[in-house]
Every structure is written in structure tokens, then in C-alpha cells.
């Protein structure tokens, strides 16, 4: 464990975490370290998205470090790996931070986020060949379809037991192509596919129901054929319950894709950002970053 000074520091440390079945109480330190690395990377970048990444850090902690997604940090090209596709490409700082904390590449590289020549592009760029970034994304609504193509490849062609995860935002649900994707997932009975919705109720222009109401989300996902569960996206046990449902769907060959609607708060973990849509696309200033790290380090 790190001392408080290390945690609070604006510099990146070298801590990494393993990926295994865990008790719920094991996740907070991981999620907090992901959050700190998001803050550290963004303040250096001077631009980028704080709100979605911070709010979804708990989801990423459970997905990457709870034994649900199978990968080998020391063999990223492993053909047996499960795949994760970030459909909400703008949220990529949380994925970069998570991957660094999984030891997939040096944490220090987080300092290059959004900088000229970096592998850590503002939106995921496959042209950068950063292992773990399976595809480019950033145009909303496309990633989930790519993930479904991968899940079809696994389940229907290669007939292996790989899992495919994809995370979309809730504003992203306004894109019709998301519903094309959802329809296909259930049509093809992809019980190896797990859709996670970061339901923070925020998007750039305001609250989701004000910008374009996507509710009732659960009814929509069910009508499109998903086995749908709503969880508290900051409660690690609840998130585990969601991913366990997915594992059961796949293990029991139910033929039903799983949808986890994770209720989150944008910017969660940093009180002055919490539940504020204004933080969708802003980085913290230096002083805000210091305050955020302070707050995040007071927790486990």
C-alpha cells in the first residue's frame, strides 16, 4: 500500500493490481488509484474529459480487476483474451488509467495523454497500437457494434467462450445505431456479450432527460432482448452482481445478452465535480487537481 504522500502526489507511481475474484471491499483502493491517475493525467493534458472517467472508475475496477475480463498483462496479444470496447470513446482516460494500473504499459506514459505523438490519443486510436485498445472510437454509437461483431466472431464462427464487453454512455443511447446494435445482439443470441451503460444522467448540454429523454432505459433494453439489471455503479458488490449475471448467462448458454445499467454520478469521488454535467469535458486546473487528489487519498 502507498503512503498518503504518494497518493496525493501529482506524479504517477508504479503501483499495479492483479485481476482476480475479489471481495467487494478490495475494490475501493483500486478504484481510487484509477481516479487519481485520471486526475494526474488530465491536469497535465490541459484538456479532456473528467466527469465520465471518474464516474465510471468503479465499473472499470470491477471489470478489469475482479476476474471478469480475462487478459494477460504480460502477453497482451494473447489470442484467448476477452475483449473490451469503449464505445463512449471520450471516456478513454479511465481506460488508459485502468490499463496502466493493470501493468499493460508504463504508468508514466499517462503523462503524455493528448500530447503530440502520444499513444494515448484524445479518443482511442488503433493506429497507435497501444495493446488493450482493440479499436478506435470517439464517434458515439459505433463501438458497441464493433463489439458485437467481435462477439459474433467468437460465438458464431470460432465457437470459443471468449467474452466481449462494451461500455456506452447514457447520452449515447440517443444514437439510433446503438439500437441497431442491441437488436442484433439479441437476434444472434450473444450470451457472450455484456453491455454496460454508464447511467450518470449527464451529458454535455445538461441532464439526459432534458437534452433528449432516454428513459425508461431498462424497458428499452428489455424490449430489445437484453437480460437487464440495474445496479449501483459505485457499489462494488452490486457491480459484481451484474457481472455475475452475465457470467451465468454465458455459462448456462441462455442465448441472452446481458445489459448492466450502472447508476453512477458524473465525476464521482471528487466532491466538487459530483453529479455536475459541466464536468463532462473539462480537465481540472492545477489547484483543483491538488484538491481532488487530497480528497481521493483520504479514502482507503
Amino acid at each position: 500500500m502507498m503512503d498518503v504522500e504518494t497518493k496525493r502526489s501529482l506524479d504517477f507511481n508504479t503501483t499495479t493490481f492483479t485481476n482476480e475474484r475479489r471481495a467487494p471491499e478490495d475494490f475501493p483502493p483500486i478504484a481510487n488509484e484509477i481516479r487519481r491517475d485520471i486526475v494526474r493525467a488530465l491536469v497535465r493534458a490541459g484538456s479532456g474529459h473528467s466527469g465520465g472517467p471518474l464516474g465510471s472508475a468503479d465499473i472499470f475496477a470491477v471489470l478489469y480487476f475482479g476476474g471478469y475480463m480475462r487478459y494477460r498483462s504480460d502477453d497482451m496479444g494473447w489470442s484467448g483474451r476477452d475483449r473490451f470496447v469503449l464505445s463512449a470513446g471520450h471516456m478513454v482516460p479511465v481506460q488508459y488509467a485502468t490499463m496502466a494500473n493493470a501493468g499493460m504499459y508504463p504508468k508514466s506514459e499517462l503523462a503524455t495523454l493528448r500530447k503530440y505523438g502520444t499513444r494515448l490519443q484524445g479518443h482511442p486510436g488503433r493506429d497507435m497500437h497501444l495493446p488493450g485498445i482493440e479499436t478506435s472510437s470517439g464517434s458515439l454509437g459505433q463501438g458497441i457494434s464493433i463489439a458485437i461483431g467481435m462477439a459474433m466472431s467468437d460465438a458464431l464462427l470460432d465457437k470459443n467462450d471468449h467474452r466481449v464487453f462494451s461500455l456506452t454512455g447514457d447520452g449515447e443511447l440517443q444514437e439510433g445505431s446503438v439500437w441497431e446494435a442491441a437488436m442484433a445482439a439479441s437476434h444472434f443470441k450473444l450470451d457472450n456479450f455484456c453491455w454496460i451503460i454508464d447511467n450518470n444522467d449527464c451529458q454535455i448540454d445538461g441532464r439526459v432527460p432534458d437534452v433528449m429523454n432516454v428513459y425508461p432505459i431498462k424497458d428499452k433494453c428489455e424490449a430489445f432482448g437484453f437480460d437487464t439489471i440495474v445496479v449501483d455503479g459505485h457499489d462494488h458488490a452490486d457491480l459484481q452482481r451484474g457481472f455475475d449475471l452475465f457470467l451465468a448467462n454465458q455459462a448456462n448458454k441462455t442465448g441472452r445478452p446481458t445489459c448492466i445499467i450502472a447508476r453512477t454520478y458524473m465525476g464521482h469521488g471528487v466532491s466538487f465535480m459530483n453529479d455536475k454535467f459541466e464536468w463532462h469535458g473539462k480537465p481540472p486546473t492545477h489547484d483543483q487537481a491538488v484538491a481532488a487528489l487530497e480528497e481521493l487519498s483520504a479514502h482507503p
Binding site: 472510437s137 464517434s139 461483431g149 439510433g176 445505431s177 441497431e180
Partner: protein
């Protein structure tokens, strides 16, 4: 050396047959259907390899992006629909998920051009060559006849990277054979000549041959060139034709803006500025009617190519730079 006419067939048949051939050669070739598998001939593949065919329904965005996912997992996915829908309804997907990803996705775009006939303007795509030509990493093919479409389909399946093939609904004359060389990115010279270069593809290729024949009767030797691959563009063959002939006519079943004519104009501006005349659709939408009626109405026959060749030659002869008389500014075509 006018090529021999060998009957006629739609280029889409070549796509369908080529796809079956590919499916036999490569077990990782898969096909996605967009609810028009019969008219774009992917039904042949479906019937032969049902396990490698997936019907995605009427969802071109999803089909394109699913194809990207399949490609990133090592498959060679083909998705075919009408060009209006599989080059434009999915344009953002083609840009990000296919081209930027350098995903090994292959698109077959049917019902190209106004020779589609009675379905009318919405179904007659005339804009997609210009768009696809702008996408980095994209290969863009416009075959001229059945056999070339068949070969092109196999070639695009066997190259690595995003590729698009454009084909038509109605029968077009056949004149290439199994022996005609086909190399992606390498234009084919069809007739010899140094008086005027006629640079064409797709349904306008045979019209160009007819125009050349007619020009021959006047003692004019036209060099007809088949630019079946619009991207990567064969700068060398086109540059040499422009240099050696001193004037150019382009002919395509597409808007005169931005497509093959645009590529030729850019190449000539860069390498060999010579007078160019453009045959194509002049900035308008199509309409209902029989294919032949429409080709006449929209000026897509050998007659316009013939007339344009005479204009181009006149411009070449008038002045060394082929500049039109001052005050005589032509807009398009």
C-alpha cells in the same frame, strides 16, 4: 485493337460469383446481408456457405461496424447493399470504424449510377466515389464488366485493408476475359492512340470504346484507359496518357465533381496540365425511366464522349495550353 464484344451481364453478377469463389478459397471470408441479398447477389454466397452468412437486416450502420468487429477478430467480412446506403448511410462508420481502424472490411455497393432505371433518384447513387476517394487507407474499385468485377472481388478479398467495389444493376457489355490482366491500382490501356486519352471506368468503359471506334473513322486515334481502381490512383498511366495525347476526356457514371474526373484533373494539374473534358452527370439527381433512356437523358453515351474528344483536341490544337477563349468559362462537364 478494339476489344471484342462478348455479350452482356451486370457487374453485380461478377461480384456474386467472385464472392463464392473467394468463399471457397478462404474459410474466413464471411458475408453480411442488408435485406437485399438477391439484388446484390450475396444470396449466392449465402446459399453455398450458410454458416458464414449473417443477415443484419436493414441497418447499414450496424452492418458496417459489425464488419469492422469481425475484421478486428481476423475475419474477412463483406457487406453489400445499394451504394446509396452502404457508402453514405454508413459514412461516419466507414470513416472511423473501417478506414481509421484500417479494418479489413470489404464493401460491395450496388445500384450505382442512373442505369439503375425505374427505382428513381433515391436509389441511383452518383456521389460515393468522391467520398470514398477521400478516405485514407481505402481502396476503391469501379469495374467495367462482369469478368473484371469477378476478378476485382477476389482481389479485394485477398488484399489486406478496407476496400469498396462499385457495381451496377443493369447488364453492361462484356469485353475482358479470364486472360485480361487485373492488378489493383494499375490502370489498363484498352486501345492505342496519341490523339486524345479517354479515361473511363464502369459502365462508361464500353461507351468509350465505341467513341474511340467512331473517332477512328475520322482518323483520330484515341487511347482508352480503364481506371478500374480509383484509389489508389494510377498516377503514372494517367500522367503518361495526358503527356502523350496532350488532351483528356474522362467518362464515368457519377457526378462530374470529385469522382474519377476529379482524380484525373488533380493528377493532370500536378503532373501534366492538359485540356480535360468531363463526361458524367452534371450536378443533378437521377430519375425514373428505362436505363437506356436515362443514359441518353443524362448524357452518358459514346456520343458525349465522342463530342468531348473533339472539343478536347480542338483545345489542344488551339493553344499550347488549351486555354479556352477568354470570356468562355465553362462550368461543369
Amino acid at each position: 485493337m478494339t476489344p471484342t464484344l462478348l455479350g452482356s451481364k451486370p457487374t453485380r453478377f461478377g461480384f456474386g460469383d467472385g464472392l463464392v469463389d473467394l468463399g471457397e478459397r478462404h474459410s474466413n471470408v464471411v458475408v453480411l446481408g442488408g435485406d437485399i441479398t438477391g439484388s446484390v447477389m450475396t444470396s449466392l454466397f449465402r446459399d453455398k456457405f450458410p454458416d458464414r452468412f449473417f443477415s443484419i437486416g436493414i441497418a447499414e450502420q450496424n452492418a458496417t461496424t459489425i464488419a469492422a468487429g469481425l475484421a478486428l477478430s481476423g475475419k474477412i467480412p463483406f457487406f453489400a447493399s445499394y451504394g446509396a446506403f452502404c457508402a453514405l448511410r454508413n459514412a461516419d462508420q466507414l470513416r472511423i470504424s473501417v478506414a481509421y481502424n484500417e479494418a479489413n472490411v470489404k464493401i460491395g455497393g450496388g445500384h450505382a449510377g442512373i442505369s439503375v432505371g425505374p427505382d428513381g433518384a433515391t436509389h441511383q447513387v452518383l456521389e460515393e466515389v468522391a467520398f470514398l476517394r477521400t478516405l485514407p487507407h481505402m481502396t476503391m474499385i469501379v469495374p467495367a464488366d462482369y469478368e473484371e468485377a469477378r476478378k476485382a472481388t477476389i482481389a479485394m478479398g485477398e488484399m489486406v485493408g478496407p476496400a469498396y467495389i462499385r457495381f451496377g444493376r443493369s447488364p453492361v457489355p462484356m469485353f475482358t476475359t479470364a486472360d485480361t490482366p487485373f492488378i489493383l491500382g494499375k490502370a489498363n490501356q484498352i486501345t492505342d492512340g496519341n490523339d486524345v486519352a479517354i479515361i473511363a471506368n464502369g459502365a462508361m468503359l464500353w461507351e468509350s470504346v465505341l467513341a474511340a471506334e467512331e473517332l477512328g473513322k475520322k482518323g483520330i486515334k484515341a487511347r482508352v484507359i480503364n481506371v478500374h481502381t480509383v484509389k489508389p490512383f494510377d498516377f503514372e498511366t494517367v500522367t503518361n496518357a495526358a503527356r502523350e495525347c496532350g488532351c483528356v476526356v474522362t467518362a464515368e457514371e457519377h457526378q462530374v465533381h470529385g469522382g474519377l474526373g476529379g482524380a484525373v484533373a488533380e493528377c493532370c494539374g500536378k503532373n501534366a496540365p492538359v485540356p480535360i473534358e468531363f463526361v458524367g452527370v452534371k450536378d443533378s439527381f437521377g430519375g425514373s425511366g428505362e436505363p437506356e433512356e436515362l443514359m441518353v437523358k443524362f448524357g452518358l453515351t459514346w456520343r458525349e464522349i465522342y463530342a468531348s474528344a473533339l472539343v478536347a483536341m480542338e483545345r489542344k490544337e488551339k493553344g499550347s495550353t488549351g486555354i479556352r477563349a477568354i470570356k468562355d468559362v465553362a462550368t461543369y462537364a
